[in-house]
Amino acid sequence: MTKLWVLLVATTACLAPLAATAQSMTPMRGEVRSFTDAFAVKVFPGNPYDKRIRVEVHVYDQDFRPVEARISPSVFLLAGQASRPVLVVVPFDGASDRKVRICTESIPFPGEQTQIRAQICGKFFGHRKF
């Protein structure tokens, strides 16, 4: 189990330098090679507003069906103009490659008649190496 985490962190570290802060979600593209039965991606949701918002992170497949992934944290409050890392671990589920969308969602002004949910989705491609 420890080896698995070491490998996951290692694969995440390969992607991390691509990330930057102060965006709604970075990176928005990524390709990860993993030696385990899952691959990990670290994304950075950002809050462009001056007020605190509630942010949710979800993982979908190519057809926008939810994917059972481990997201840490999946729901959180993000301070204005802030950004924070979110670790997403996606299982291959027996496949050798997997394409997923990781989406950051928020409704900055809830409770109104026609409210807008802003969703930023990144496309990520995991390759399993044996």
């Binding site: 928005m28 507003y49 026609t114 807008i116 802003a118 930023i120 990144g122 496309k123």
Partner: protein, 156 residues
């Protein structure tokens, strides 16, 4: 003898004067990669009003207003709206409503009003107007009460 020494010294000085100091030059390369980025900032939500025949509840109707979203991007992304699935209607409204979300952009890139996913190829800031229209067909009418719908604007 003194004259010979002076002549040799002068000749050496003259010989050295023509020599330039040797220096090496090299180029330092800088590389930078910008990946696709997109920031959505909701400026305001929209407002829907009902038409005189009570069959349209829309932000396009008189008194209604579109929602506004600022889009900042490097290009290489796609903007879309999802079909509306989350609505709240008054208890008296038991008939079906067809909800149609659309968007149009101005600014860095102009997109005419559409409900179809559209590529944002021009880097910069655009403003998207988000509209929502609910329609009822046949003899069905909108009822008195509060309606609420959520439009998902996606940048990917």
């Amino acid at each position: 003898m003194k004259f010979v020494r002076a002549a040799i010294g002068a000749a050496l000085l003259v010989g050295c004067a023509g020599q330039t100091a040797s220096a090496a030059t090299g180029n330092v390369l800088f590389n930078g990669t910008i990946t696709a980025t997109c920031t959505l900032t909701v400026n305001s939500n929209g407002t829907m009003t009902v038409s005189s025949n009570l069959q349209s509840l829309s932000s396009h109707n008189a008194g209604g207003s579109a929602g506004s979203v600022q889009v900042d991007t490097t290009g290489g992304v796609q903007l879309s709206v999802d079909p509306v699935t989350t609505t709240t209607v008054p208890a008296a409204d038991v008939t079906a409503t067809t909800w149609t979300p659309t968007f149009a952009t101005t600014g860095a890139q102009t997109i005419s009003e559409t409900g179809t996913a559209t590529a944002l190829t021009v880097p910069g800031t655009s403003t998207a107007a988000i509209n929502l229209a609910g329609t009822k067909s046949g003899t069905n009418r909108f009822s008195a009460g509060n309606y609420q719908a959520t439009v998902t604007v996606r940048c990917e």
